[in-house]
Every structure is written in structure tokens, then in C-alpha cells.
Symmetry: C2
Subunit: 103 residues, 2 copies
Amino acid sequence: MSFFDKHVFFCTHQREDGSDCCNNHGAQKARDYVKNKVKELGISTRHNNIRINSAGCMDRCDEGPVIVVYPEGTWYTYVDESDLDEIIEEHLKNGRVVERLKI
Amino acid sequence: MSFFDKHVFFCTHQREDGSDCCNNHGAQKARDYVKNKVKELGISTRHNNIRINSAGCMDRCDEGPVIVVYPEGTWYTYVDESDLDEIIEEHLKNGRVVERLKI
């Protein structure tokens, strides 16, 4: 049994050398959005304990911005808040993989 | 199949309000040590792809400093480099849980 049922890591890495990185695509803002939305919706429960984390570079920059959901190890990319809403509703709340955003 | 076979997250969170946090126990230094050691030893391979990441607060501050290894979801605490060496050798290289450091 995993300590968190859905442990979500957002790469929020910012490169200083001008090369592309997740935070050029609003990763920190996206992480804050999801953290607040999960709280607001009250979907993190004793039986579906959700944790939203920021993380350093996860080495999938070309496919970024990226997140990974453990323990299942599902990787996603996203463009806007509607993508994030779908991941929250489908995956985090209902445990269903969002195939169209999977990488 | 997981993109990384061993995806390790170090909480490197630094609290500014004086309360206890992983980085008060040298978390950032520990993360850098493990990242460099894994590289130096050459134990991250195509069949045992290891990624060492930093992460924000993982909400287990009382048991810190903490790390988690996914996809298995094994949580550890550590005190010094010999603890980290044991996690590298036993868990990351050989896939055996280090029971004495597990939380």
C-alpha cells in the first residue's frame, strides 16, 4: 500500500540558459492550480490520498511540460487548465487514465 | 512498465518560518551526493534506469529528512552518507529494500 494513493509530481524546473524547460510553459502556475483545485474539490480523502508536489527536472524536457502520477507511473503533458481539470476529474478523482494527454 | 525503474524524490524543502524541515537536515546536499554517486558508479542502465530528483515538501516532515522511491513507493529516512550509500547499493542497484531505514 502506497503512503499516497496518487502522488503527483510537476516538473517546475526553470532553466537559466534559455533552453526550453517545463517552467517556460507555466509549470509552477499549473502545479499551484492543481493543488488548489484538489483542495477546493475535497477529493483527497483517507481512501484516495492525493499529494501534489513540485519537482526538479525529470529529464523529459522535449515532451514538456510534464507531470507523473505515482505509484502507477503515468506521465502526462498538458497545455491549459482544461487539460489539468480533466486529469483531476478523470485520473486523480476517478482513477481513469486520460489517454489523450499521456506521453 | 515505468519510464524510470527507480525514480527517487528527495524532499529538499526549506521552511522559512523556523519550523523543522528536510533541508534543515542537509537534504539538498544529500540529493546531490546520491545523484553524483549513482553517476560515478554507473549503476543507472537501460534495464535499471535510475533518476534522482529533488521535490518540494512531501508532508512527512516529522519523519524527515525523507525520500521516496517509485514506482514501488518505498519511503526512507537517512542520517548520513553511509545510510545513503546503503540505499544506493541495496535498493537502487540491487532492488532490495533497506528495512532499517524504512519509514
